[in-house]
Symmetry: C3
Subunit: 351 residues, 3 copies
């Protein structure tokens, strides 16, 4: 149960209509009742906006409400009505219980570790010497936290995720299953024999507040200093973050992407799937990289979109791609031109 | 010990010759005895077909037996003689024991979980509330199965594989080490501040009968509803299957491939390594995608082959690739043409 | 505390100056004292070579010492001064303790397993029947070693790494968290129905001495025989090594790379990130593959560099790439040429 005003605040939305209306449930726009909230995402359903019995409807900010003669008692304008609706569902009907409260008797916790109030720790989790675990943090079964780590409040560490020694997680950090934080970077010094000598990886990883690292992704520790993922950044499955990388705030990185060592990624960057980014470069704030892009030099101008291998400005990449697709025909045209020129030259010399 | 007929049935083969012959062992074609079965895969060994002492030989259906005057007592025609021979080895000499029968005393199994007859559960496996585990299923050490999951009969879940809450596995499903089933999808709603709000991932994953998910691959749960991998589909290592994807029956997906959310992959599709497939599209039954292909729009015609980034019909992709490789020379040719044209124009204007 | 001579031996360096000088600490070149060793990596700091108070300085072999009038008491020439300096730090100040000595009481070790002197085994590690674990090897919490494995001396197996049955690791092998050794290869025989029959994976994996497999990478066991990674080879995170591959000595493979089955990679090969290599081919010793390269046929000539998809000789690939980037302009130029030719032909026919 919540007022329209409270729901709008949760969803970062704006209310048009009765902000004090009390909502008790959720429903489809064609079925919802006067106490329900619904959503309008597909333009095909737009006519329902005037017909629905719902007490409130989530709509896109892009929707022009002035075109609708009849509106429900309350409308909440949001960026993405479907996403906001799913957020609401998760609030109205919390997910199934995943982890029992308290500390499972089989968890091996070093006596020096400090466990925050309300933290839950699952079966066979292992927490090392000198660790601190924040309040209400959930550590699932079979998680390993190495010595001298600091884990913040309200974090969720799913099964088989691991954090190696000395790494630091802020609050509300989520590690999906199999995520690896603080593994050694790929650093080796070549010897004259051609063999490699391992370079000790003495640094750490810092994941700031509200970072999520999804399944089987890896964030390597720094050679010295830190690998740092800043506040609010979200990283999808099977992503590689090499040593000494910095990723800014509110950046999103889709699955199967790899970023090489010491690179700096800005804030509010959007990186598509299977992108590859070279080491020792920097990517400006607000950059957008299409899926499969390969970046081999720094991007310094902010808020621009790139695509292709190597990366080109987006519209340029589309033109190059279009031209490449026509290459077999271009070859034929050049063949024809060469024949015609030869004829013209022949006819000239014949004179 | 088995008859040729029984072996042919196991291997989906056709018998030419004595189907009742009893086979007791296996051997190389140049060494096998009259009770052995052998195989002929490399054409260089074809002459042995008339010389071998083997009681039976596996040959390719593509081999023209009428060209061979002498044949062994029994020949079994199969699609891939080497693969069939290895299947036979596995039958004649079962692999080394990997997991002790029964339930290891250290396994933590919720009292409400129902464990099928003959199931084996290894050390430090954790099985959640309300789970059902089918008959003869093998759960290896350190596997985690979340609350309310249903696992079918004769499944094999290798060490460190995990299944998050409420997911469903059919029978004979295999999870290789580190496979992650039911991790959260990459779903976030952008707020006006630029920060992201996590969209609860309320759906599940269903893996139907005979699906295999190999090492460290990930199948994300749906936002709502299901991510579903249908009967018989095989997924190699380090593959990303995002939320709300459906993959059809008997599809194979090679390593390092990533498929984005809500895409529908058909049946009998063959996907090479390191392929990337965009979200919200569909791929028709029987499609073949060469290694490294990038698919950005739906493929609607069945049984066609594609390659390249972005994907092009296979022969077209080969022609584009061939033309691209000649581009430096094409540039030179166009430079030459421009000079010649300039000369011709000059000579025309000189007149 | 060590002499300059001892330090040079550790770092594979050559001494210029006082090899008997005793060094007790490390420091930055502008701050180091007479008992310290420092390093010079950035050319901008070169002037400090004549000014530093350091007792010894690590410099690049590429640096021309004859250009410097004043030198510190000892100079050690190495390939990579920064890397060597980090190696030294790791020697002077050993890393934080990660694993307690001895065998944790919760480790489940089969009675038939033989554990070498000085080996440490962490909480909830599981070691199978018939295994041998070498001297001073460190097995971290939650590692699983299947039946009949042989693990050499002084290995480090980090949390959640696993080795399936019968596989063999040499000495000083390192597995980072989540590394999977010995998972089944992707081998299936197609049946006439279109379904796939699993081909038993009966072979093993051998990792020779000094191999390192980093986080969440996978090395599949052979169908029959071995998948083998030879001495000193280093493999980064999220790399796929398929069944029956052989990788030579002192090869380095960067993150997100996938290599398909039965391929032979030579020694001293350098493979960049997100490379894809087809199955059943071979790559000559000393080959260099740039990031993102796709190799579809064997490389037989040694010590050459390649790039692109498909792979081309490096300088050729750069030229093709440069030409591709100019394609939209090339199209325009050909359009112009066609118009001019048409005019010339017209003017000719007008005569």
């Amino acid at each position: 149960m919540a007022t329209v005003r409270e729901i709008a605040a949760l969803l970062d939305g704006d209310v048009v209509g009765d902000a004090d209306r009390v909502i008790t449930g959720i429903g489809k726009i064609e079925e919802a009742s006067a106490q329900d909230i619904s959503f309008l995402s597909n333009p095909k359903y737009e006519k329902f906006l005037g017909e629905t019995k719902a007490g409130a409807v989530l709509v896109s900010r892009a929707l022009d409400l002035t075109k609708h003669a009849a509106l429900p008692p309350a409308v909440i304008q949001v960026a993405d009505p479907y996403a906001s609706f799913v957020v609401l569902i998760g609030t109205f009907q919390p997910a199934v219980k995943q982890l029992d409260a308290g500390i499972h008797p089989t968890a091996v916790i070093h006596p020096s570790a400090v466990i925050g109030e309300g933290a839950s720790i699952g079966a066979y989790a292992v927490i090392g010497e000198g660790c601190t675990i924040g309040r209400n943090t959930m550590i699932f079964p079979l998680v390993v936290i190495g010595n001298f780590c600091r884990i913040g409040d309200e974090c969720t560490l799913y099964p088989h995720s691991s954090v190696r020694e000395q790494c630091v997680l802020g609050s509300r950090v989520i590690l999906q299953p199999g995520a690896v934080i603080g593994s050694d970077g790929f650093g080796f010094a070549p010897l004259r024999s051609g063999a490699y000598q391992k370079i000790p990886q003495l640094g750490i990883v810092v994941l700031e507040d509200d970072v999520e690292i999804q399944a089987n992704s890896c964030v390597d520790r720094a050679v010295m200093g830190e690998t740092r993922i800043k506040r609010g950044t979200k990283i999808d499955n099977l992503v590689q973050i090499a040593h000494n990388i910095t990723v800014g705030e509110d950046t999103v990185i889709a699955a199967c992407t790899g970023i090489a060592g010491s690179t700096k990624i800005g804030s509010k960057v959007m990186i598509g799937g299977q992108v590859a980014i070279a080491g020792h470069i920097s990517i400006a704030d607000g950059t957008k990289l299409g899926a499969g892009t390969g970046v081999i030099k720094s991007i310094t101008e902010e808020n621009k979109a790139y695509w292709g291998r190597p990366a080109k400005e987006f519209m340029r990449a589309k033109r190059v791609e279009a031209a490449t697709s026509q290459l077999p025909e271009l070859l034929s045209r050049v063949n024809t031109l060469e024949k015609k020129i030869a004829e013209l030259e022949q006819s000239k010399s014949d004179k």
